[in-house]
């Protein structure tokens, strides 16, 4: 994983304006977002994003920073969330302010992680991955067997408004919940960032890259992994608590392999090598899931294709692609890239649109009701029985592909030029 070591280049001590700036900007953005999007559904989607971000960042503590591939991370989020929902149903809940609830989820996520981690972090690599898979399957299966705690298939639900009012706020409306979630997002993201800067976080990177050398330096690679694992469990539990507050229900799907798999997808899509990678991944994935699924039935086909393409061509993820541009920007040579980007990317986008158009028309032709030949795509309404939509989309795809292919060398060249004074890689 060569892409990972890029984080190391930006090692600066102390708190400077430069390191604090992204956090201040994010905080301001988080405060302002609900004023830009006022509808409840937008706020619901943003809440979902925030939860996914916390969860993905916690996952990246394992995958990106610790080199541990987990197939059962949803378990820690789920168990934390289940504990929070149970607390909501107890009488004692009336004397707990709601904003503290995620902390409880975090603690229980951490407890579970410290138990499982005891035997699963002995080895990294495949042994760890397979144990996480096994534990994930076991606990997910337990959700229907241990009904007392997991509530069976229908799950456990509670009511957040029974909590102690927090400075008069009862968390009746979505917007109040949004600020609670956003606050926790900022706190946990900051804590996770700081964790990655502590000696333990640094050693996690060292153990990821070369466990033997780390051992020779006197560190037990097992305990270093264990520490990251427990910390990741804590933040996953916080995400679970936030989930409990938002949806007021937890079910088997919060524990199962699909959820664990999709967080892997989110994290990798965003980029595991950069701290804010999972943030990008969570935002993009949530948008794809909620917005794209409103537009097309076969959205998961596109997500699957996007994911495979990312792994094949941009293993450093979306954030990695963004970060690649830091050098040209620093060198002040980014203008060199503008034209080649336009002449390559525009045809590429046209090609992708053409392909997806073909797929959509084909899908409609195969699966729509008889007589319903009319379909709307890209704000144009037409009949799938006619020939021209097929021709137009095929032409778009072919032309776009040809142009993009033709201009790609130009882009590569410009890319090298923009990066050269440094003699940088890629």
């Amino acid at each position: 994983m060569q892409s990972l070591d890029k984080t190391q280049t930006r090692l600066e001590g102390g708190v400077s304006m430069k390191t604090a700036m992204p956090w201040i900007v994010s905080a301001v953005m988080l405060v302002l977002m609900p004023f830009i999007f006022q509808s409840n559904s937008a706020i619901t989607i943003m809440n979902q994003m925030a939860i996914t971000i916390v969860f993905a960042l916690s996952y990246n503590m394992l995958l990106g920073q610790g080199g541990m591939l987990s197939f059962g991370h949803a378990v820690y989020m789920g168990v934390g969330g289940f504990v929070c929902v149970h607390v909501m149903n107890w009488d004692i809940f009336g004397s707990i302010p709601l904003p503290l609830l995620p902390l409880l989820g975090g603690i229980f996520g951490m407890i579970l992680a410290s138990l499982v981690g005891y035997f699963s972090t002995r080895k990294a690599g495949t042994v760890f991955a397979m144990i996480s898979l096994g534990v994930g399957e076991l606990i997910a299966a337990c959700s229907v067997i241990i009904v007392v705690f997991f509530g069976g298939e229908e799950g456990v639900s509670g009511d957040r408004t029974y909590g102690m009012p927090f400075f008069g706020v009862e968390f009746l409306s979505q917007i109040e919940v949004y600020y609670l979630t956003a606050g926790w997002l900022l706190i946990s993201a900051l804590l996770m960032y700081l964790f990655s800067r502590t000696p333990i976080g640094r050693m996690a990177n060292a153990v990821r890259d070369n466990p033997e050398r780390a051992e020779f330096l006197g560190y037990s690679s097992r305990w270093v992994r264990y520490n990251s694992f427990v910390a990741a469990g804590f933040f996953a539990g916080i995400a679970g608590g936030l989930f409990a507050i938002n949806y007021e229900i937890l079910t088997e799907e919060n524990l199962n392999l699909t959820t664990s798999g999709s967080i892997l997808l989110v994290t990798f899509l965003g980029g595991v090598g950069v701290f804010f990678g999972p943030v990008v991944g969570a935002i993009v994935f949530t948008l794809l899931q909620t917005v794209l699924s409103l537009e097309t039935e076969i959205w998961s086909l596109y997500v699957g294709a996007l994911f495979v393409a990312t792994v094949m061509f941009f293993p450093s993820g979306l954030a990695g692609v963004m970060q690649m541009h830091i050098v040209p920007i620093k060198l002040g040579k980014w203008r060199l890239l503008v034209m080649p980007y336009i002449v390559t990317l525009v045809p590429a986008i046209v090609c992708i649109l053409g392909l997806s158009g073909l797929i959509e028309v084909l899908f409609h032709a195969r699966h729509a009701a008889i007589g319903e030949t009319e379909m709307t795509l890209f704000w144009v309404t037409f009949q799938h029985t006619e020939i021209w939509p097929w021709v137009v989309f095929a032409l778009m795809a072919a032309l776009g592909f040809w142009l993009a292919r033709k201009n790609a060398p130009q882009l590569m060249e410009a890319w090298h030029k923009a990066n050269t004074p440094d003699g940088a890689d890629t």
Binding site: V25, S41, V144, Y247, T251
Partner: protein, 414 residues
């Protein structure tokens, strides 16, 4: 870099929200069910049935309130409770006041609680939940609320009808109960035990077990147990591939008796059972297609099949949902005051397109209707399922089933 991403998000979000504004004069009904994933075919077929029912039964007759049209808006919940709640929020934001859902009692449980909370917290945008298929008895008992109306007969009512038939069959001495390990499967098993105990105490229950839902690859060991127990009949609440695989496996491994069940029709299951299931499958449901109640109903099915040749009129109650909602809106004189519409629905009596009457019981919002026992066969089938030549033919009927069944519901009315 973050700002760039977020600006993209701005555009995408505003697109999603903008799609809502148009056509304020239509009465919009949110259909929240799986439209992608493993249950997509059931969901898509249901959506088609709703669209067709709204079009032919309401809009073609001039709509409601003197001209307002019904519009069905599909929302994909991917059969996940979490996703359902998100889609519910999106639907409410679009000004939708009526939600229909049916697949999975787990989702229905999540929705009914979320809607109850939403209506308490936001009195200006209250919604009604018209449940057309989720049959967990709890929804109209301890979990009932004013906003939830169930149009399907619940698991207890159906089991009552099934056990009536079994009680009349003297050749049944031993019964094996098997189901999926979750609320619905457990409800079926509990109902079967209590009804059989009351009606035929001499019947021995030789097996009563649950298996993991959707995870069993091979039902052979279960089938062996059933054969070994010497059971004369099997009762199961299984659905989807669990039903198909269990049924096939039981029959292939030498079980000769009847299998009493709830969901073993349409969505590919009828076609997959084909000849194998003939003579053994017995289903309980409402809305008979064979024999059909009237020419009007026959024309309806034919028109539907002409439009969706691969589809099935598998959930006949959908027409009841649409017709009764239209009547309630007309009676209430408003499509936006859902409390008035809800009150109009309570106690409503309605002549079903499929014959017989339906009464929305006011105590618990459970529709009381005729329930039929069907046999899976290819004889006497006018309207088949899955274009397979096989269909469901009525063997016996219970009029206004369980009209006086007790309920634990303590309804709080607004």
């Amino acid at each position: 870099m973050r700002t760039i991403v977020k600006r993209g998000a701005v555009a995408a979000l505003s697109l999603a929200v903008m799609a809502s504004a148009a056509f304020a004069e239509n009465v919009k009904i949110a259909f929240i069910d799986p439209l992608s994933g493993p249950f997509a075919s059931t969901g898509t077929n249901g959506l088609h049935q709703y669209e067709f029912a709204a079009e032919t039964l309401v809009n073609a007759n001039g709509g409601v309130l003197g001209g307002q049209k019904f519009e069905i808006v599909g929302f994909d919940n991917k059969i996940s409770p979490k996703e359902s709640l998100i889609q519910l929020q999106v639907a409410i934001d679009q000004g939708i006041r009526y939600v229909v859902q049916g697949n999975s009692s787990g989702v229905a449980n999540a929705l009914t609680e979320a809607i109850d909370k939403h209506n308490r917290r936001n009195p200006d945008s209250r919604v009604l939940f018209l449940n057309y298929s989720a049959v967990d008895p709890a929804l109209t008992n301890e979990k009932c609320n004013f906003w939830h109306f169930r149009f399907d007969a619940n698991a207890d009512i159906k089991m009552d009808a099934l056990t009536d038939v079994m009680a009349a069959d003297d050749s049944i001495k031993k019964v094996y109960i098997i189901g999926q390990d979750y609320s619905f499967g457990k409800a079926v098993a509990a109902a079967a035990v209590s009804f059989l105990g009351a009606k035929r105490p001499d019947i021995e229950i030789v097996g009563n077990e649950l298996h993991p839902i959707g995870k069993v690859k091979d039902f052979t060991p279960y089938a062996r147990k059933i054969v070994a127990s010497g059971a004369d009949a099997v009762i199961t609440g299984n659905w989807g591939s669990d039903m198909l695989n269990l049924g096939k496996s039981v029959i292939e491994n030498g079980f000769k008796g009847p299998i009493y069940t709830y969901y073993a029709a349409a969505d590919g299951i009828t076609a997959a059972f084909g000849e194998t299931g003939k003579g053994s499958l017995r289903l309980v449901s409402e809305g008979p297609l064979n024999p059909i109640a009237s020419d009007r109903a026959a024309d309806y099915v034919k028109a539907f099949k002409a439009k969706y040749p691969d589809g099935n009129v598998s959930q006949a109650r959908i027409t009841n949902v649409i017709e009764m909602l239209a009547r309630a809106i007309n009676d209430a004189g408003s499509a936006t005051d859902v409390v008035a519409v809800g009150k109009a629905l309570e106690g409503m009596e309605h002549d079903s397109l499929w014959g017989g009457k339906i009464m929305m019981r006011p105590q618990d919002h459970q529709a009381i209707q005729d329930v039929h026992i069907f046999a899976h066969t290819d004889e006497g089938v006018q309207f088949d399922y899955d274009n397979s030549g096989y269909g469901m033919v009525v063997e016996s009927s219970v009029t206004m089933a369980s009209a006086d069944a007790p309920t634990t519901c303590k309804m709080k009315r607004p």
